[in-house]
């Protein structure tokens, strides 16, 4: 009985906590809208780009690297979810489950090494890396 009272009380406190967080955010957004001053300026309607006049919009094309990272995240994080379930049921799953998890993690690591080897994790473009490699070689030759 006392544990059920405890559970009910905890649900109430969680609900009130969530509500209070929401209210706090609404209050902070609302109070500055009400109290804040109003002013007018000539350059106020332009985006702030450190004093340089803005050219073109901010809907730009971006390096594909960012999208690659997003894809890797989906691949690895979804696979990590299976490991969450395994970790919490480790003792129930026993050695059979352990061997399966090791096989799974090995495949995950092989996938990571593959991505590494094909250069998917390198941030700099390949041309720049080759240039750096070449300059390193000439330095070594000069040293010799």
């Amino acid at each position: 009985m006392s544990s059920s009272i405890q559970t009910v009380a905890e649900h109430w406190s969680l609900a009130v906590y969530l509500g209070a967080v929401g209210l706090l955010c609404a209050f902070m957004l609302g109070v500055s809208y009400l109290l804040g001053g109003r002013d007018w300026g000539r350059a106020k309607n332009e985006p702030f780009e450190s004093g340089v006049s803005s050219v073109g919009g901010a809907r730009l094309r971006f390096s594909a690297k960012f999208y690659l990272i997003a894809m890797f995240f989906v691949i690895f994080d979804v696979e990590a979810l299976f490991l969450y379930v395994w970790a919490v049921s480790l003792r129930e799953a026993g050695w059979t489950g352990y061997i399966e998890a090791v096989v799974f993690i090995t495949i995950l690591l092989i996938g990571l090494v593959y991505l590494w080897r094909i250069g998917a994790l390198d941030w700099a473009p390949e041309s720049r890396r080759r240039k750096m490699q070449a300059s390193k070689m000439t330095h070594i030759k000069e040293a010799e």
């Binding site: 009910v8 009380a9 406190s13 990590a80 970790a87 993690i105 994790l121």
Partner: protein, 330 residues
Amino acid sequence: MSWLTPEVTAILLGVVKAIVILLVVVISAALLSWVERRLLGLWQDRYGPNRVGPFGAFQLGADMLKMFFKEDWTPPFVDKLTFWLAPAIAMSALLISFAIIPITPTWGISDLNIGILLFFAMAGIAVYAVMFAGWSSNNKYSLLGGLRSAAQTVAYEVFMGLSVMGVVAVAGSFNMRDIVAAQTHVWFIIPQFFGFVTFAIAGVAVAHRSPFDYPEAEQELAAGYHTEYSGLKWGMFFVGEYVGVVLVSALLVTLFLGGWHGPFLPPIVWFLLKTGFFIMMFILLRAALPRPRYDQMMDAGWKVCLPLTLVNLVITGAVVLLHSGAAHAG
């Protein structure tokens, strides 16, 4: 007083505790803005804010009053809905995660059995705050900051979950009270040292603190994703960052340093001492370390920390199974 049944009393007590915890967290997060400036001043051989009140202690009040009366400017070129939504998410996402933190045996908001998973969910939602702010501002610096931050947070969240799974495997539960109870004899920082190191790194990255503060690297991006924000909306991003610092410190204490456990002193004092220690470490990190290059940061995440957490999990699983097998045999 016929309506004051034991049930109502328990509910009222729980609700009051929840409100007190919320207020303490928000106020201490706001107060950190003064603590951080004073400490940075100390470490950089200058004063820091020292004009308002003794040692500048009332600086927070002055800052708040100033921000209340600042113009709440919504530029005409922004996307209104996401522009208003972003600060609310930034502030609330990590604040909600405090619901799972057990502060003392009797204090804590809710003893959820999904426990730590709620924090991972909220950390995932917190990415939207920076993404929305960066995209809706319609400003090139903001967009760059938002994209950088999304890539960084996503790369570090992959192994943040895995780094805690060693702890979950040893404790056998996601529930935070069970995890604390499993640390009565040995704190998890000793058997799960690599888990602790990787979680601490990921925690700094998720809270966008220096040296992982790429989203708002002020030397390159003006102010990053919140360049176009002003007044209390900007203040919400600011408080949200400090809430992240307090939250990650509290999580480190709960998961790896035994929560409220400790000799002689009462539980609440131990919890506050340990959390305070990690908050100081956050500030010291900012004072001591330069910002690494972006590709170095990404390399460290994918090529060092992710394999490390996977190997750590494999070894932890073997040790736990060997141990429980030996216990059965004996």
